[in-house]
């Protein structure tokens, strides 16, 4: 590995000696003032970051390139306050919320297809994007369900005028291969662009002695197309298409036998929109979005070729939306929209094709007073055919103390609707023997098991249950945005989320085989609170340093009360005796680190034209299991120890920035944890090459 490293390093040095000393061009200097950046996610209108009363950060495509990253999970892993979590895929944890509470958008439209609530982040390529916008705190007032922790919006590239084409590749450990090609053509009126990507990996095993892969080999393809036409200065029409297909070779052991087969996944979306400016004050946008997501898996025993398991999952999402922006006065902008949504799902684990219909409306007023105070007030009302309607208000204000300090305050309501699984799942684990039923069909499924004589005791009569409702939260964010010096930017944000009606599983009956029947209930209340701080300092035109920390407490209200009242007990692992759980021992919700930190440095060496980037990410210890049966995390051996990941990248641009050579090492220290962190394969070394052409 180190020989390879040295070789690439030499190659870069050698190539740099070939070219004459390059002048530091505009694109080479590090970040300009990031607060001047215009973003769309926080208000659904274009607005400068420094004018927003809501915590938002952006990651530019240049930063992603500098770090040698190709997929969404890689870049989110290094953001202050975000943590990756593995649960049926790799998702993101924000402000202490599980992956299912962060809405992921591409150009403002939701990416569908979650497994147990997790949207696999590596599905999204970074090669054709302009930037990522990350809004923390609930945005249900604009986006509805799922935006309870926040929103991550991936903004794809808008091509510049002329003809452009490019190709970029990255190859490395585990035969990880990422190849992209793109082309675009743009005139005053017409814009056309296309993009294709292939991402594959030979998989890896964290426990080679098992004979099985921890992560299976796969090959994924992404193809996107965008076209836009400007009829006049007033009217624009755009359409974008996205196709993604992934094929995976699964192989694992079941009861001392080996099973294997293929898992396929396909998603497709089409997104046409039309924007019309009626006047300086009035702009309307009509958008339509249709997305489908399908998975198929067929697994057979290798010895007898008998089928072991065959499943499919088919999801459809259709939405029409109309939004109007009205600038009443230069200091007051009102944005309002209405939409209608139709969702379907058909799967092995559901009895029939299920569908949801919902309609919604939202309104938001954005008012600037005395050039210093900005107030955003708004709300969204969602009506649904299966569960209770939901109103999600938001009030946010920012006050500019002076040129250097701005105070931000917001209070908002977030919600997450029960998903198809929680309503309609009909699943019995063939190996362990337990069953899980969604709320809606619980009664008839339980009756069926009773008729078959499989139930030994009904613990809760389903007819006494009240219907399953949305999970909802009140969230408060207070922060300071600081720009105390020309080259220094810092953000501090303190948050508190009170979540109610959290849906979790509980047993409703016991079976004659000793296992249980589970269903979903609005059961728990939890809270998350903490704060984050992030700082970026441009020491010179070529050297930038930065860092961030997050402190987090995420607790279950009932558990925490029990601990506070001294009613939570633990079994001492040494003596086997029962002892009281101390407040300091209570670890809160699973998978939440109390402390996270990162530091980054980026350096541009002007003489050789080499750019270096080095980042350190620390994740403090977090709870993963319960071995003493009290249902909470409290013993030392119920935690995963804290760990550090160090990633580095080095690259050089040649021939007037048309060719670039890059060398990346992720997880330089080679940290792995085969028991609890399956998504960390150890040290990864990549070499990359890209070429851009324009006419």
């Amino acid at each position: 590995m180190s020989r390879k490293l040295a070789l690439v390093y030499l190659l870069i040095l050698w190539s740099s000696s070939l070219t004459a000393q390059e002048v530091v061009s505009e694109s080479d200097t590090l970040k300009n003032n990031p607060l001047d950046e215009v973003v769309i996610t926080a208000t659904r209108t274009d607005k400068k970051i420094e004018e927003l009363p809501i915590p938002i950060t952006t990651v530019s495509s240049r930063e992603i390139q500098n770090r040698g990253m190709v997929r969404l999970n890689e870049i989110l892993a290094e953001q202050t306050g975000l943590a990756l979590v593995g649960d049926h895929g790799t998702g993101v944890q924000m402000q202490g919320f599980d992956a299912q509470y962060t809405l992921i958008l591409i150009d403002g439209e939701p990416v569908i297809g979650r497994t147990s609530g997790t949207l696999e982040l590596s599905r999204i390529t970074m090669a054709n994007i302009d930037r990522i916008e990350i809004v923390k705190g609930p945005s249900s007032s604009l986006y509805g369900s799922e935006a309870m922790a926040g929103v991550i919006n991936i903004i794809t590239k808008t091509p510049p005028k002329g003809v452009f084409a490019g190709i970029s590749t990255r190859y490395g450990t585990n035969q990880s291969t990422d190849v992209s090609a793109d082309g675009s053509y743009r005139t005053d009126k017409l814009t056309i662009s296309g993009f294709a990507n292939r991402f594959s990996n030979a998989g890896y095993s964290l426990m080679p002695e098992s004979g099985f892969q921890t992560v299976a080999p796969f090959a994924a393809y992404t193809a996107t197309g965008k076209a836009g036409y400007k009829f006049s200065d007033k009217t624009n029409v755009n359409v974008s298409l996205r196709y993604y297909a992934n094929s995976q070779d699964d192989r694992y052991g079941v009861e001392n036998r080996v099973v294997s087969g293929k898992g396929l996944q396909r998603d497709f979306s089409i997104f046409p929109s039309i924007t019309h400016r009626f006047s300086e004050a009035h702009t309307s946008m009509l958008r339509f979005y249709r997305a489908t997501y399908r998975t198929e898996s067929s697994i057979s025993y290798e010895d007898t070729k008998e089928l072991y398991d065959e499943t499919y999952f088919d999801q459809g999402f259709t939405r029409g939306e109309f939004q109007h922006d009205y600038e009443i006065r230069p200091d007051i902008v009102v944005t309002a929209g209405i939409g209608y949504q139709h969702e379907t799902v058909e799967a092995t684990r559901y009895d029939d094709k299920m569908s949801f219909n919902s309609g919604y409306g939202y309104i938001q007023a954005d008012w600037t007073l005395l050039n210093r105070l900005n107030i955003i007030a708004g709300g969204r009302y969602d009506m649904h055919n299966v569960y209770r309607s939901q109103f999600s208000p938001k009030l946010a204000a920012s006050y500019q103390l002076n040129k250097k300090f701005t105070l931000l305050v917001s209070a908002s309501r977030g919600y997450k609707a029960p998903d198809f699984r929680q309503l309609y799942l009909n699943f019995t684990n063939a190996v362990a023997g337990y069953s899980v039923f969604g709320y809606e069909d619980l009664q008839e499924n339980l009756q069926r098991l009773q008729d078959e004589g499989q139930i030994s005791e009904v613990l809760i009569d389903p007819s006494t249950l009240s219907s399953l409702n949305s999970e909802s939260s009140w969230a408060y964010n207070v922060g300071v945005r600081m720009h105390p010096a020309d080259k220094l930017i810092a953000n501090v944000n303190i948050f508190r989320n009170d979540v109610d009606n959290l849906i979790s599983t509980a047993s409703i009956a016991t079976k004659t085989n000793g296992q249980s029947v589970f269903s979903y209930f609005n059961r728990n209340a939890v809270f998350t609170q903490g704060g984050e701080a992030d700082i970026t300092y441009l020491l010179s035109n070529t050297l930038e340093v930065g860092g961030g920390i997050q402190y987090l407490e995420a607790k279950d209200v009932d558990e925490w009360n029990m601990v506070k009242e001294g009613r939570a007990y633990a079994r001492d692992p040494e003596t086997g005796r029962t002892v009281t759980v101390k407040k300091s021992e209570y670890g809160g919700l699973l998978n939440r680190s109390k402390y996270m930190a990162n530091a980054r440095i980026s350096y541009y060496e002007t003489r050789t034209g080499i750019r270096l980037s080095l980042r350190w990410n620390y994740r403090g210890r977090y709870g993963v299991r319960d071995v003493d049966g009290n249902g909470i995390v409290n013993l030392d051996n119920e935690f995963v120890k804290g760990y550090s990941l160090v990633n580095g990248s080095i690259y050089k641009s040649l021939f007037n920035n048309t060719l670039r050579i890059q060398f990346t090492t992720d997880n330089i220290l080679g940290f792995t944890n085969n028991e609890y962190i399956s998504y960390l394969p150890g040290r990864l070394v990549y070499g990359g090459l890209s070429y851009r052409f324009n006419k």
């Binding site: 009861e255 040129k403 250097k404 300090f405 190996v431 362990a432 337990y434 030994s456 005791e457 613990l459 300071v480 600081m482 105390p484 010096a485 020309d486 220094l488 810092a490 501090v492 303190i494 599983t505 509980a506 047993s507 016991t510 000793g514 249980s516 589970f518 609170q529 903490g530 704060g531 701080a533 402190y551 407490e553 001294g566 009613r567 007990y569 633990a570 079994r571 692992p573 086997g576 005796r577 029962t578 002892v579 009281t580 101390k582 407040k583 300091s584 699973l590 993963v624 299991r625 319960d626 071995v627 003493d628 049966g629 009290n630 249902g631 013993l635 051996n637 119920e638 028991e675 609890y676």
Partner: protein
């Protein structure tokens, strides 16, 4: 605009960061556990086996088979007489608790309830609140871990004490310790694999019986 990073700014910045860190950390005070020296004998039962099965027989004593031709097996439950301090069989008229998988049932007039506390420190049985109803379901005397590691495990909840009024009106307290043969270490790597765990429905527990009929369980 060219501003310098003044000392005042640095102080403000530092102040805000320190304030925000401090405001989030809370002090905690924990009470120690007062230990009581027991006067009654604490007995331990290891591996009371409720995992055995027998072949189901028809009226003439022949094995009953299912559609595949396999013999139909029925479980043999474990029954325990606490006053006598021994395992008995299902035909006995002195059993207090029937261990039926995760369900505990009470027979021959025995009644029970679950209370919270530390077993050794729990010294007086309540006079009311007993019931003959079965104890079943996650959250009663055990937690089912579901998809939390160790997955699909039945773990007795520490601090749950089963107070029993036996069939012959004696008070007893019982602490369930394990649902698996050999009372295995639940934090061990081997216990994680639910396919290869030691036999379930094999109970380890401690108990104290007050033979004089009083509620004193010290």
């Amino acid at each position: 605009m060219k501003t310098t990073f003044t000392q005042a700014n640095a102080v403000t910045l530092a102040f805000i960061m320190v304030f925000f860190t401090l405001s989030l950390s809370s002090c905690s005070k924990d009470d120690g556990d007062n230990n009581v020296t027991p006067e009654l004998e604490v007995k331990t039962v290891e591996d009371l086996d409720g995992s055995k099965t027998r072949v189901l027989l028809d009226d003439s004593g022949n094995p009953i088979t299912n559609e595949n031709g396999d013999e139909v097996l029925v479980p043999i439950r474990a029954y325990f007489d606490f006053s006598a301090g021994k395992e008995v069989d299902s035909t006995s008229t002195t059993w207090d608790i029937k261990f039926d998988g995760t369900t505990l049932s009470f027979g021959n007039g025995a009644e029970a309830q679950l209370v919270e506390g530390i077993f050794d420190n729990y010294v007086t049985a309540p006079s009311t609140g007993f019931s003959t109803e079965n104890m079943a379901g996650s959250g009663t005397w055990y937690n089912y871990t579901a998809t939390t590691d160790p997955q699909h495990a039945i773990l007795p909840i520490p601090g749950k004490i089963l107070v029993l009024k036996t069939h012959d009106d004696k008070y007893a307290k019982i602490e369930l310790i394990s649902y698996y043969r050999g009372n295995p270490d639940t934090s061990a790597e081997a216990f994680k694999d639910f396919m290869n765990r030691p036999d379930s429905k094999v109970y380890t527990f401690r108990y104290v019986v007050q033979p004089d009929g009083s509620t004193n369980l010290k």
